[in-house]
Symmetry: none
Subunit: 417 residues, 2 copies
């Protein structure tokens, strides 16, 4: 059996959105050991969609559709499928109730056009959408053909895939031999440097080791093919240990770990708390820390001192230093970190001040110059200077600044153990 | 004439890489007024690639290939095309020289496998690759069929597209008519509700109006086909005005606008300033405000009062109210907004306190319950209650909370004008 991914949406043909769904589904199909040879993108057009279905059923046995399930008239996937196979649409009461309920919770009234989302082909099963209003279907209109439809919203599609499609495909016998992957995450080392360090592992047959880089972070994906996840994990474990040993402190976590979640765990181990003082990141560091559920146990809060007056009034930064050295300076970074730590009474204090751009750079203080202040549990303060380069975007500089601050704290917490 | 994008590469089928080339080419084709109805992804496999070519030439006149031009054996695009149309491959001397030269510059010797890259179908023109070694072709093997091949490396592909493909397509008469789109953005209305309000516009031929939704936001894309951008803008302008009039305050901006940038402009118009007090968003609201370059003109900063103690010590929230009503309550939201406004001495004060989940919800205060406090320039405070539903993720609840807070401020700023 081979699968085909069919993404429906004129916005894809206009290039308005990037087709992330195709990549996610491709990875998922691979992990279940389902080969897929074709991906097709087609617009919200009944005739062309029918042509695509005709071609797909001639070469594939599992058709995975995304998009075109919404309430608006240009959402045509469901009715076109029903029409193609000559099956009537029937209103599904559970879907209708579910949509009505979701609207009630959000204090909105269901509109007529939402009823459209409750129509599915006779004989199709509902593929429930727990986080959105547009459900999908699992349908076998003819023997040896399995059709799945998902909404185009990635978060909803992914949840539905995991909750319903995967168990269904396993019931069809897929996933007996699985590809199980673990992703090791690294910060503070370049992809090329890490790749050289672990070059011996990059040619392993099973598990395979592949490096990836994205936004300052480097990842190694370790993928094993095996009969069960346990078997795969046994293949991966020794390789993982060796890779971690080689990378040392540059390795910070794996899979769902983030720099913030790892820092959080380390703080909890020491019953330590953290507060942050942010200038150029404007709250991004606090947001990262609080992305982690339960972060209230160790993250007390912070002060967004975007304006210099706030640095003085709330963080106790010395106005003279501010004038003489400027807001983006070692001195101010240090005072910000000390200030927030004492104001919030936390074990650690972390500060960021820098020039995120696009404007505000000078010859001596170019865009991308960032100072990070860190006050340790013993009150000792350290300041780190980083230059991210003027060619980087404002949002990337802000993101890298926050991540680097967390990474510096992570390393300190590991040292002081 | 219609085009089709065909991306060749097994790595796309494995989900190892995201298909950014398809989005880039889609945007480029649209801007040249070339309709394209299909995108296909196929692996590095001769037979399947031939099937894809067969289908494509039956429905499209311009085939744009990416990938499969490299020196390795699994790069098959060029020879498969030649084979399909029964045309022999000939070694092209300029390509050979070019590759040899590039290798010389890099101090490397050309390998045999590189010679492969100099083979192109007889009668095909070279599509030079100024930044890489793999050139593409521009080829018309049969009348009214135009084939372009590009390497998969986005930077090389994009440069080649601009340098050679665009002039060639313009010489074919394209680019005389362009498709120009503008995206209108809305907050506080469901896609279905907006679609019904503007249903009369959804069937317009030119400009076309299409709705889509993402993470709480609804967009209407207005696309006009015209001889020039000015003509397109003239077609769009009246429709845009009518759509804005119908949507009223739910319309907040277009294209590059964000809720934060729009709020920023409104604050600047009044020489007003803003400070924020954040609990469940943990800095996300401040980050949104400071995403906008130049936001220091109106955004002073804020206090991340994640811990209740910080709400008391830095925001002056009444400890009794905290105990009696809880941190997630109208009273505390109001006191947080007042507190930050007076501490930072800003015109407006905005606060968020809520339960982002996944834990911490109760029957009376479920996950997704959020209070937003807003203190106006006249000192008057208002509190808004929102229930985002327990089915939504922590990150989505946090994101929607921050956006809604900005939207409430936006509406107030527009009212008080």
């Amino acid at each position: 059996m081979t699968a085909e991914i069919i993404c429906v949406g004129t916005e894809l043909l206009l290039g308005d959105i990037l087709n992330k769904n195709a990549q996610y589904l491709a990875q998922q199909l691979a992990s279940l050991g389902i080969s897929h040879y074709y991906q097709t993108v087609v617009g919200d057009n009944i005739e062309r969609l029918k042509q695509v279905i005709k071609i797909a059923i001639a070469r594939s046995d599992i058709l995975v559709f995304t998009g075109g399930l919404g309430p608006t008239p240009d959402d045509l996937t469901t009715e076109t499928l029903a029409d193609f196979f000559g099956v009537p649409l029937v209103e599904n009461s559970e879907i209708l109730e579910d949509i009505a309920q979701k609207y009630a919770v959000r204090g909105r009234v269901m509109t007529l056009s939402n009823r459209k989302q409750a129509l599915i082909p006779q004989g199709a099963k509902v593929l429930p959408n727990s986080s959105g209003t547009a459900p999908g279907i699992i349908w076998s209109p003819i023997s040896n053909l399995h059709i799945f439809t998902f909404p185009g919203v990635p978060s909803e599609m992914q949840r539905m895939w995991q909750e319903t499609a995967v168990p269904y495909l396993k019931s069809l016998g897929f996933g007996k031999e699985i590809i199980y992957s673990r992703t090791l995450k690294f910060w503070g080392i370049a992809e090329s440097a890490l790749a050289e360090k672990v070059s011996a592992f990059l040619s392993l047959p099973n598990p395979t080791v592949a490096p990836y880089a994205s936004r300052g972070e480097v990842k190694l994906r370790v993928s094993a093919k095996a009969g069960s996840q346990t078997d795969a994990e046994q293949l991966i474990a020794p390789i993982e240990q060796q890779l971690q040993a080689i990378a040392g402190l540059d390795y910070y976590g794996q899979d769902e770990d983030s720099l913030a979640s790892v820092v959080g765990r380390l703080l909890q181990c020491e019953n330590a708390t953290l507060s942050v003082a942010e200038s150029c990141t404007g709250g991004g560091l606090g947001q990262m820390m609080t992305d982690v559920p339960g972060s209230s146990r160790y993250f007390m809060g912070g002060i967004i001192s975007y304006d210099n007056q706030v640095k003085v009034s709330l963080l106790g930064v010395n106005p003279q230093d501010l004038n003489q050295e400027g807001a983006v300076s070692r001195t101010v970074a240090a005072q910000m970190a000390k200030g927030v730590r004492s104001r919030l009474g936390t074990t650690w204090g972390l500060s960021i001040t820098g020039i995120a751009g696009p404007d505000g750079g000078t010859l001596t203080k170019p865009v991308g110059l960032v100072y990070i202040g860190l006050v340790e549990s013993n009150g000792e303060v350290q300041v780190f200077e980083h230059r991210y380069g003027q060619d980087r975007s404002r949002s990337l500089i802000r993101y890298l600044s926050a991540c680097t601050a967390l990474d510096l704290l992570r390393r300190k917490l590991l040292e002081t153990r």
